[in-house]
């Protein structure tokens, strides 16, 4: 899940041997032999040996070693993160370090060395060189919990062949835009409930117009939306009285988020210290227990329904979960694990982005009017948009892209290099933890003129040969290990934002001043966003 990923990237990893079947990988051009690494032969020595195993892009320029790479000292990093609470400012530190040390730099977190890539071209180079089963970061603590509890790993926590197998199944179901468009009506029903929820919340506010802490509402919207697709049922998150089971799940999620730092220490604290500091690990396990329990309830319920229908000789119709349960391309434990991880990954990510999008619209009323005009012109007044309409709403797509550029919900991602690479003139041995600095590249003037301005229009193409995007802003990642829920999240956001813009004028509440971002695993609003949602005259 996203909120743990970025942390894991910079935080807890021990170098790990590659468990994958070697034949999975075709070695690419830039690789030094693993043997030379094992023998501790430096690049310079290797060249002197007359075995130019490295084929750098610019022959003639000496490939530098990691030792020569700039970066903050171990001590200053310790002070920054533990003394000055750098964890909540990871995105800002990324920017500072980019200015100080350049496009590529190294940092140390205790025994863990991390190489940060803060340049879109270098990012492109690294991501394009990926093998068939890229590894994000060490997920040891996640795996340990699964082993202890006898549960399977899902797409976030699995690696190698196991990951590839599950990814192969799931991407054929929910990655293609046309496959996800099927869920348009289900998502729209959730949007109906979201709008009703706005009315309810507004009516409770003193001025009759304010929704306090919009993220709380969007959290429930996102959860309801993902569940409608994943579980093929409604949870009732947007109702006045939330069902008990759902409330329990939200509590488990909240425990995971609120104890975020401590649960992360759960992975960082060595096992032998656990008897002395038992709380983080215990909380980590109990929040996972809660999340799994909820998924099991819903998966088992669907399974029983299917079995009953088959017994009666009825035709079974269904969506994603039904497909997984009937085809059994994954076993039941794998289904539990993936459903759990997908729900977890699809809630706060979507809700933060929706909160930021509405905040930005409120701060930029002229942009909001421009989008409203486009929506009205494309759909006609009051019509409900479906997935099919989205291509005719380029500013809605631009709004989501621009929001994610300014507030990339995952400010940094991780990769463990699976081959020796030469990046930015440095030799990076296989097994190195990389931090991909998306926040800093998203706000880079070189890639985005007027980088701090909110301008959804920058994403609009003049024609199909007009190129507007680049590796500077890839909020869902790129390639085979990119976000599996991307198209579902986009659909949920496009349809919700279109409807909100149609129905309401979104205005900044006097109670909300300038909202800054903070990193809490994910990039999230540092203070609650209160907004006024005023009915548009139709």
């Amino acid at each position: 899940m996203a909120f743990l990923k970025s942390f894991a990237t910079v935080y807890r990893t021990s170098f790990q041997g590659e468990r994958l079947n070697k034949q999975l990988f075709t070695l690419r051009a830039l690789h030094k032999s693993a043997a030379s690494e094992a023998l501790g032969i430096s690049t310079a020595e290797e060249e002197a040996m007359g075995q130019p195993l490295v084929t750098p892009a610019n022959v003639g320029e000496k490939v530098k070693s990691l030792k020569e790479m700039p970066g903050p000292s171990t001590l200053s990093n310790l002070v920054e993160f533990f003394w000055r609470d750098g964890f909540s400012r990871i995105h800002e530190i990324q920017m500072d370090h980019r200015k100080l040390y350049g496009k590529i730099f190294k940092s140390r977190f205790g025994p863990q060395m991390v190489v940060s890539i803060a340049d879109r071209d270098l990012l492109a180079q690294v991501l394009r060189a990926e093998g068939p089963a890229p590894q994000r970061a060490n997920m040891e603590s996640w795996k340990e919990y699964r082993d202890i509890s006898g549960r399977a790993t899902g797409l976030i926590s699995a690696e190698g062949e196991q990951w590839l197998k599950m990814r192969g199944v799931l991407r054929q179901l929910i990655m293609r835009p046309r496959d996800v468009a099927v869920f348009s009506d289900d998502v729209n029903q959730v949007v109906d409930d979201l709008i009703k929820r706005v009315y309810t919340l507004r009516s409770r506010s003193p001025d009759g117009a304010t929704v306090f802490n919009v993220n709380d509402m969007f959290f429930k919207y996102a959860m309801e939306g993902v569940a409608a697709i994943l579980y093929e049922c409604r949870l009732g998150c947007l109702e006045n009285k939330i069902p008990r089971e759902t409330q329990d799940y939200i509590s488990a999620l909240n425990l995971m988020f609120s104890s975020f730092k401590t649960t992360m220490y759960a992975g960082a604290i060595p096992k032998w210290l656990r008897p002395l500091i038992p709380k983080p690990w215990a909380e980590f396990c109990s929040s996972w227990d809660g999340l799994f329990k909820f998924s099991r309830i819903h998966v088992d319920k669907r399974l029983q329904d299917i079995e009953a229908q088959l017994k009666r000789g009825e035709e079974v119709k269904g969506g994603l979960l039904t497909h997984m349960l009937v085809t059994r391309e994954m076993n039941i434990e794998e289904i539990y694990a993936n459903v759990t991880e997908m729900l977890l990954a699809g809630v706060d990510t979507t809700s933060f982005t929706l909160s930021w999008a509405c905040y930005l619209l409120a701060q930029n009323p002229h942009v909001q009017e421009q989008i409203f005009t486009e929506v009205t012109a494309a759909l006609g007044p009051g019509a409900v948009a479906t997935a099919e309409d989205v291509p005719r709403l380029p500013l809605i797509r631009g709004l989501v892209k621009e929001t994610l550029r300014l507030f990339p919900v995952l400010p940094g991602n991780g990769r463990i290099t699976q081959d020796d690479l030469v990046v930015g003139g440095y030799f990076i041995p296989k097994g190195t933890q990389l931090a991909l600095c998306h926040y800093s590249t998203s706000l880079d003037e070189e890639g985005f003129a007027g980088a701090l301005d909110f301008c959804p229009e920058r994403w609009i193409r003049k024609d199909s040969t007009d190129r507007v995007d680049n590796f500077g802003s890839i909020p869902f990642g790129y390639g085979i290990r990119s976000c599996i829920g991307r198209r579902i999240a986009e659909l949920e956001m496009h349809l919700a934002l279109t409807r909100l813009i149609q129905k309401f004028t979104i205005v900044a509440s006097p109670l909300t001043a300038d909202v800054k971002a903070k990193t809490h695993g994910l990039l999230c609003p540092a203070s609650p966003i209160h907004l006024q949602l005023i009915d548009r005259e139709n």
């Binding site: 394009r128 192969g168 009937v326 059994r328 995007d469 680049n470 390639g479």
Partner: protein, 167 residues
């Protein structure tokens, strides 16, 4: 939510057949697919005279001529014909990467059918992009494309090597 319709243990919809056809072709065979393999045969009983000839120019500049069925994507053709373009079609046509990037002549490009926003977004991330670039997974064959030429652009790795060699 009409993604799947099941009668007993039988999976009927064409979409599912598509899934397994692609998956079986693209991923090394594993036991997890056995249950579904039955669907891979006989889905498209096409006569050979109905096929479309495609000329791929590989990264070495060599021409590879193969035939594909109308309705198949160019990625399907590369997989079905077992063409060895390193790293091609990594995400199996799910619009998550741009490794099936192909370059066409202008007159062919105009006849390739509409481009979606999602394809354009992915094309932006393709290496060696041109004005007549498309993703192979999004281009479907029609009879009017008979004899078309599709060039596989150089990959990043190739570029590094060729620089290396010339240097």
């Amino acid at each position: 939510m009409a993604l799947v319709t099941v009668m007993g243990r039988l999976l009927a919809p064409v979409r599912l057949r598509e899934y397994c056809r692609r998956t079986v072709a693209a991923v090394a065979p594993g036991s997890w697919l056995t249950g579904l393999r039955g669907f891979t045969s006989g889905t498209r009983p096409l006569r050979s005279d109905n096929k479309v000839t495609i000329n791929f120019i590989n990264r070495d500049g060599e021409k590879v001529t193969v035939k594909g069925s109308p309705g198949d994507s160019l990625l399907d053709v590369v997989i079905n014909e077992d063409l060895d373009f390193d790293g091609f079609g990594a995400c199996e046509g799910t619009l998550a990467c741009s490794t099936c990037h192909l370059i066409f002549d202008e007159d062919v490009y105009k006849n390739l059918g509409p481009v979606t926003d999602e394809e354009l977004d992915m094309l932006d991330l393709a290496y060696g992009l041109s004005d007549t670039s498309r993703l192979g997974c999004q281009v479907c064959l029609t009879k009017s494309l008979e004899g078309m030429v599709a060039r596989v652009p150089e990959s990043v790795a190739d570029i590094r090597q060729s620089k290396d060699e010339s240097g």
